[in-house]
Amino acid sequence: MVAASRAFVCLRPQTYESAEEAEVLSWVYAGRDGALRNTSFGVLSADGERKLTRSGRSPSMVYETPGAFVAALVALAEEHVADDAPAIRALPALPDLRIALTVAAADLRPLVVLREADPERLEELRALLRDAAWSDEFVGRFRYVVLDDEADLEGFEALELKPGISVVQAEAFGRGGEVLAHVALDPADAREDRDPAKESPLAATLRAGLDAFAVANTSVRDHLRRGRREGIEWVPAVEVTDPGRRR
C-alpha cells in the first residue's frame, strides 16, 4: 500500500475544518442526503477536476479487499502517471499548529515543527526539511507544520518552540506537547553538511526525535472516557453534517 501510494499525491484534509475544503470534499463524496460525511475517499485527476474512480466513505466502500485497492492504484498509476513525471517534493505539511498537534496525536506520530519568521531563511529551512521528509529514511514517519508568524503559536506558548526545527511529541489530546529534539539550523552549514562524509544536523535531530518518541496507545473507549471526564472538547471550524457524528 505504501509503495503504491508513492505514485500519487496523498492528501488527507481534515473534515469540518475549512469551509472551502468542505465544498471540495462534498464533491468527492457525500451521503444520499447530500451532506458531507466524516470521512471520504476518492482518486482525482492531477488538476483536481475529475474523479478517476468511484468515491465512497472509505476504500472499503469501493474495493472488496485491500489487495483489490492496491491493484487499482497500480493500474491508475500506469494509466495516469507519465514515465517522466516529476517526483513529489513539497513538504507535506498540516495547516496550523492546533490541527497538527491533534493529527499527530491521532496518528501516534512525532510532529516536526519548522518555526522561522524571516521569509528567506524560512524557505531555505523548508527546502532542507522537504528533502529530509522525502528521504528514504524519514518518508512518512513524521507529521509536519510550518510556523512563520508569532500568532501561529497562540494558545501553545507553553510548548516554548524555538526558531528552527523541533520534533514534538503531541499530548494525547493535542492540547500541547513536549519538544523531544531541536536544531537551530543554519542553512549554509546544512548545505555543507550534505557532504555524505558529514552527518547532517537535521537528520541527527530527526533521529533523536524518533528515538525519544513514546506514546500511550490508549483504546478509543479510554480516550473518549478521559476526554469527557476532563471536559476536553474539539470545536470544528464548520458544522458537522454527518448524522452519525452530530452531538
Binding site: V24, N38, V103, A105, V215
Partner: protein, 95 residues
C-alpha cells in the same frame, strides 16, 4: 459498544500502513522504564501500551487541499484523497 465506526481503524491501519511499534533492541531502554522516567506526559494512562516511533516508511500525507492540489498540478500525478476528522465524538486526538 465502541462508538467509533469500525471502518476508521481498518482504514488508517491499511492506508497509512501504520507500522508496528518499534521493536526494542537490547540497547534501548525498556518502555516501562522510559514511562517511569517521564511520568508527567499527558494522556498516558499507566495501563496503556506504549508505542515508540514508527520504524518503517509510511504514507506522506499532505494536510490541506491547496498544498496537495498544487503539488499534483506540478507533478501531473493524480490525487489519492481521504478526509477524516481528528476528533472522535468531540474529543480530539483520535480519528
Amino acid at each position: 459498544m465502541d462508538p467509533r465506526p469500525l471502518l476508521l481503524p481498518a482504514l488508517f491501519a491499511a492506508l497509512a500502513a501504520l507500522p508496528a511499534p518499534a521493536q526494542r533492541d537490547s540497547e534501548q531502554r525498556d518502555s516501562a522504564q522510559r514511562e517511569a522516567e517521564r511520568p508527567e506526559r499527558g494522556g498516558t494512562p499507566e495501563s496503556a501500551e506504549v508505542l515508540e516511533a514508527p520504524t518503517e516508511p509510511g504514507i506522506a500525507w499532505f494536510g490541506s487541499w491547496d498544498a496537495g492540489l498544487a503539488e499534483a498540478r506540478r507533478t501531473g500525478r493524480p490525487i489519492l484523497i481521504m478526509s477524516a476528522t481528528p476528533q472522535c465524538h468531540g474529543v480530539p486526538g483520535m480519528w
